[in-house]
Symmetry: C2
Subunit: 201 residues, 2 copies
């Protein structure tokens, strides 16, 4: 039989906007968290390959603590320093991609954008936003789960992907002004803060 069903370990995800993520990561990515919920910028934008076109999948985004530390911005040095152990982690909420469940063909047809995921520091949030601790480091993680078997994350068929350049520190206000500038330059919603001559449209 020439056409063989893809195995779970044939699934390949590519971070489509990796260059932008690396620009941020080289400086030290920060993500604003607010009580009312804030989107992430950059967003996690992925391309998928190797899915079974006819099978059904669920895509999840998770933000896991990257380490056991609490950080502080050291303005004089222009760097982050560890100031102690992390706050106890909360039960992690996951963001289910709104197209879920959808066929492998659907997921492979176009880039997969986690545009609308929101992060918050409100421990009592009722919207289902992902709750983070300010001044803690997080690592986004993507799960691809064959749907319809009811096992979800515990399924042995689930695949997990990590892109190290998407790591970030959650903040309630930007600490490193270079990060603020990069955001202004690239996030269309911050266009109003651009100075003439660095308009990336």
């Amino acid at each position: 039989n020439a056409t063989e069903k893809p195995h779970a370990n044939d699934i390949r995800l590519t971070l489509q906007n990796a260059t932008l993520w690396k620009d941020f990561h080289s400086i030290g990515t920060e993500m604003i968290i607010t009580k009312s919920g804030r989107r992430m910028f950059p967003q996690c934008r992925l391309a998928a390959k190797g899915l079974d076109p006819a099978a059904s999948y669920i895509f999840l985004l998770e933000l896991i603590p990257a380490d056991g530390s609490k950080y502080k911005w050291h303005a004089e040095a222009g760097s982050w320093e560890v100031i102690g152990p992390a706050e106890p982690a909360l039960p992690s909420r996951t963001y289910i991609h709104p197209d879920s469940p959808a066929s492998g063909a659907h997921w492979m047809r176009a880039p997969i954008s986690f545009l609308k995921v929101k992060v918050t520091n409100n421990m009592t949030d009722q919207h289902g936003y992902i709750i983070l601790h300010s001044m803690h480091k997080y690592q986004p993680r993507i799960h691809v789960i064959p749907a319809g078997d009811g096992h979800l994350l515990s399924s042995p068929a689930a695949s997990t992907f990590v892109f190290p350049e998407t790591e970030f520190i959650a903040v309630t206000a930007y600490q490193n002004s270079k990060i603020a500038s990069l955001k202004i330059d690239h996030n269309p919603y911050a266009k109003g803060f651009r100075k003439d001559g660095r308009n990336h449209k």
Copy 2:
């Protein structure tokens, strides 16, 4: 066994904004169709009861020709008149509610809004919008389909609902100025055309 699964004929749909629809219907509802696609106003907003909370359903909206006639607005009389037979009907497109498929519990929890359905007169539309003939009368129809059996509309379990007050004539520009006024009064996106003193906010 005291808890019995609901039968298909136990499903009940209520048109939540029936009063608004009736205000339009008493004048003669018109819906603008454009090449680029136009939303309907009012929207079909429904409440569902009697679904099996654990079962999965798909909700569809369909716009079927209400009769075999083509119409013309008679400005002097302020009424519509039949001017001949309808154009041949096109293969009807349906709008799948974006929450589909979802559990009965989900559909019953909150009003079901067909807010985003778009209608067009572009016969070559590639967006999947519902294609209509201008100056023809249409009747919205809702289908509730138990999901997961692969039969969809041909399934004997599918339920169909019609609310006669949602009937309308498709136009490329409003014919009856009373309809235009009602739209301006009630559609928030047309607020810019409101004269002071009839702001329904």
